[in-house]
């Protein structure tokens, strides 16, 4: 039981003299931000806590939520993937367009395969060729988006199958299936990173690749597995996105990479790898979702919404680097 808690706490590596409770509390800050936001939302807008609006929020964050899970896995290994949005779009247009998009099951398989292929490509270049994830995924981003435009010629692809939208529109006990898929994937990801050999290896590789290698961890195949799994999730999101809109648009998923990275970071994961939790990534996604929903309800201009989001990212990263025990000495040294 106790071994579980150590990984949950991204900030717990501070010196031992710190009060463990305060350290734990600090590790939970994404949750506090979310709670504060929900309180603000409840006060500022009557329409926020309505079943209709909450369902809407869930629908809005589910797809980006799954992409964030993929990003989270990659960030855990110390990598970064800026191609998620483009691969999502390519998976979407191909799943809607392949054989006219007449078979939903086939569409899903196509979407997942597209994601998997790009995941394996990225994974191969990063793990086996030792290339920088940022540069590799920069290339993949341009490649995939280019293929999207070439395939669609800029026109949205409408799938032929009647049930194409079902996944995105139907509900179980009033909860959208789309949201349930996100939750299920989050639970699976959490299980994998915390309860499996692969998960432990992912943290080890992300925290200290050299020590992991020296300890006999198969570093390359661990990285490969992460990029492949992330690719599958991104591919699936491509289908889900198309299903939600009813058509696969060539611009789908643009800037998703930034939102996903932001959510992961706000959720407390460290970009250098080895630290972070699924709970954090999910909370980060919800924080961003609630903010944009709230700002829309309050009729704040779309431009300002971006500014809010940016400010929040800055706040989150600054906050994670503040060491409460040491702040006084640091200020002293500066003066």
């Amino acid at each position: 039981m106790t071994t579980l808690t150590t990984m949950q706490d991204p900030a717990a590596a501070g010196p031992e003299r710190h009060n463990p409770f305060l350290v734990w509390l600090k590790g939970q800050y994404p949750l506090f931000i979310l709670i504060v936001l929900l309180i603000i939302a409840a006060v500022a807008s009557d329409s926020f806590f309505t079943a209709r609006n909450l369902t809407n929020v869930l629908l809005q964050v589910s797809v980006i939520g799954i992409v964030t899970l993929a990003q989270f896995l990659i960030v855990l290994t110390g990598g970064i993937d800026i191609s998620v949005g483009s691969v999502l779009a390519l998976a979407g247009v191909l799943s809607a367009g392949f054989l006219g998009g007449n078979n939903v099951l086939l569409a899903i398989v196509v979407a997942i395969c597209v994601g998997l292929i790009f995941g394996i490509l990225t994974g191969y270049l990063v793990a086996f060729r030792g290339l920088e994830p940022f540069i590799v995924t920069l290339g993949v981003m341009a490649l995939a988006r280019g293929l999207v435009y070439a395939y669609t010629e800029g026109v949205p692809v409408r799938p032929g199958a009647e049930g194409f939208r079902d996944v995105a529109t139907s509900t179980v006990f009033g909860i959208p299936i789309l949201g349930l898929i996100w939750v299920a994937l989050a639970l699976i990801t959490a299980f994998v990173v915390r309860r499996t050999v692969l998960g432990r290896r992912i943290y080890a590789v992300g925290s200290n690749k050299q020590a992991a290698y020296a300890s006999g961890i198969p570093v390359k195949s661990t990285l490969m597995a992460v990029y492949a799994a992330a690719g599958v999730m991104v591919g699936l999101s491509g289908f889900l996105m198309a299903a939600r809109i009813g058509a696969a648009t060539p611009t789908a998923g643009s800037l998703f990479e930034l939102d996903a990275i932001a959510a992961v970071v706000i959720g407390g994961a460290v970009l250098s790898g080895g630290r972070g939790t699924v709970t954090g990534a999910v909370t980060g996604t919800l924080i961003l979702g609630v903010i944009s929903n709230l700002l829309i309800l309050l009729n704040v201009s779309a431009y300002l919404q971006d500014a809010f989001r940016g400010a929040l990212i800055l706040f989150a990263v600054v906050f994670t680097t503040v060491d409460f025990g040491k702040r006084i000495t640091r200020n002293k040294r500066m003066s």
Partner: protein, 510 residues
């Protein structure tokens, strides 16, 4: 061979005033007082761990003394930082030359100018005039055949060191600190260094030469200060002493045999590990055996190739030639993972870099090598794992719990975590690289005990160490490594610590 320095009449260049340095659990220097004079070469000698590098770092302002101070004549304050040291006119030559590979030779000559923002004009870092100056500086250190515009990356280690030395020509200084600078220099370049030092000295520079190479110390210095165990044992005028006296001062007089009772398995026991003709990195043609239950020591100076031997056996680095046989089976692990499967464990000397995962708790670190044992179809049984971790924490007397972080532990406890991790793999051959590096005396004993226990369990143990005392106490046999080759084999019954150190320094023939 060099002119006499009349100490009484010479001008003081710097004073090391009652300097002590403590690291957590270790006293690296105690009450060192030493004066340097202009126009003099002062050598600072000592065996591994004597504190000479620490003293060099303090003089260069890179470390703060815990007590005492460094004063430079004509400089207003004590030396507290590298900037202080530079202002005071101390020029440091590192063991590893500070060379930026992507810069040209000339740019590297003038590297220091990059740090003084006030007088740098970025557009003429290497102007025509500078190129001429660089040529002259290079010629002064015997590098006249190297073009200032050449790429640095192609230079050999010896040439790189000389390139760094050429900065003496362009950076004004009163004190030249050579910190093991000649460690990678070849004989011909050493003559250039000698000429350079001679020239500097005649110009009134005070030169500090930190080294353990007897021959170089004697051919270069005017006075020799000997450190041992962080204390200043004495200062001798080079003319009035000899190799033997200095070596005795470095090693210590009371060189008794330690714990000679343990003799290890006898000749009749068949070797478990046979290494033949091993070559990797700087190590070449290495032959040795390890019997089950035997602890074999590899002693040599840092850089002598001893780590290459262990790392190439354990798949951490490539093997150029040779075979390794364990229990009659030839093994050639290409990666640490293969080595694990072949029942070889290697505990690195660099715990922070290769030893443990900083984001992991003690428990997770300990089970890192044996994760599959706690898993069914890749799913971990955390309870089973935690139970085993608790057992091991108790067995190895690790301070802390399974859930506290290894990164926060003392060096000794971190090492215990690493040992526990490797012993869990139940290896036949265990290679321990500097197992007590940076570990205080109290924790050392329990690590020694653990190592002895391993041998008693019938494992083949190889210990690499820089400390002759440790290796003689711990090992049944010790192989002396010098310049990548085994030059001697010793046992604690037949040899003294003195023998070991002399053999590793090549002191006998000198």
């Amino acid at each position: 061979m060099m002119q006499t320095t009349t100490v009484a009449m010479a001008e003081v260049a710097f004073e090391i005033d009652n300097v002590s340095k403590e690291y957590p659990g270790v006293k690296a220097l105690s009450n060192i007082t030493l004066t340097g004079y202009r126009g003099e070469v002062l050598a600072i000698c000592g065996a591994n761990g004597a504190g000479k590098s620490t003293l060099a770092k303090i003089i260069a302002g890179q470390e703060h003394p815990s007590a005492g101070q460094i004063r430079v004549e004509g400089y207003h304050s004590e030396i507290r930082s590298p900037a202080n040291a530079e202002d005071a006119g101390i020029l440091l030559m590192h063991q590893e030359p500070l060379i930026i590979d992507t810069f040209t030779v000339a740019e590297n000559v003038f590297l220091k100018e990059l740090s003084g923002a006030n007088h740098v004009k970025p557009w003429n870092l290497v102007s025509k005039k500078k190129t001429t100056m660089a040529e002259e500086a290079l010629a002064a250190v015997g590098l006249s055949n190297i073009s200032p515009s050449a790429a640095t990356s192609t230079l050999t280690p010896g040439l790189r060191q000389m390139l760094a030395m050429s900065r003496t020509q362009v950076n004004p200084h009163n004190i030249l600190l050579l910190d093991e600078t000649t460690a990678s220099t070849t004989e011909e370049h050493f003559q250039d260094v000698l000429a350079l030092v001679e020239k500097e000295r005649s110009e009134g520079t005070s030169i500090i030469f930190v080294s353990h190479r007897m021959q170089e110390v004697f051919s270069m210095s005017d006075r020799i200060a000997v450190l041992r165990g962080g204390r200043l044992i004495g200062v001798r005028n080079t003319r009035e002493t000899d190799h033997d006296e200095i070596l005795t001062m470095m090693v210590g007089e009371s060189v008794a045999k330690l714990d000679a009772s343990k003799s290890g398995p006898g000749e009749e026991v068949a070797p478990m590990v046979k290494v033949r003709g091993l070559a990797s990195g700087s190590a070449k043609n290495i032959d040795f055996d390890v019997r089950p239950g035997e602890i074999v020591g590899l002693y040599g100076l840092v850089g002598s190739g001893r780590s290459s031997i262990a790392r190439s056996i354990s798949g951490q680095q490539d093997r150029d030639a040779g075979t390794v046989e364990i229990n009659g089976r030839f093994v050639h692990p290409k990666t640490p993972r293969h080595a694990l499967a072949a029942k070889i464990a290697y505990a690195s000397e660099d715990r922070r870099k290769e030893g443990f995962i900083p984001a992991f708790s003690n428990g997770h670190n300990i089970t890192l090598t044996t994760l599959e044992r706690y898993a069914k179809f890749g799913v971990l049984n955390l309870k089973y794992e935690a139970r085993r971790v608790d057992e091991l924490i108790a067995k190895f007397q690790i301070r802390g719990t399974g859930t506290s972080f290894t990164a926060n532990l003392s060096g000794g406890n971190q090492q215990k975590v690493c040992l526990a991790k490797w012993l869990e793999t139940e290896p036949d051959l265990i290679l321990l690289d500097e197992p007590t590096k940076g570990i205080d005396v109290g924790a050392r004993m329990s690590i020694y005990q653990t190592i002895r226990t391993l041998a008693d369990l019938g494992k083949a143990v190889v210990v690499i160490s820089s400390e002759a005392e440790e290796i003689m106490m711990l090992c049944n046999r010790t192989l002396i490594i010098r310049d990548g080759a085994i030059v001697d084999r010793m046992t604690s019954n037949d040899n003294t610590i003195d023998d070991v150190i002399r053999a590793s320094l090549g002191g006998k023939e000198l």
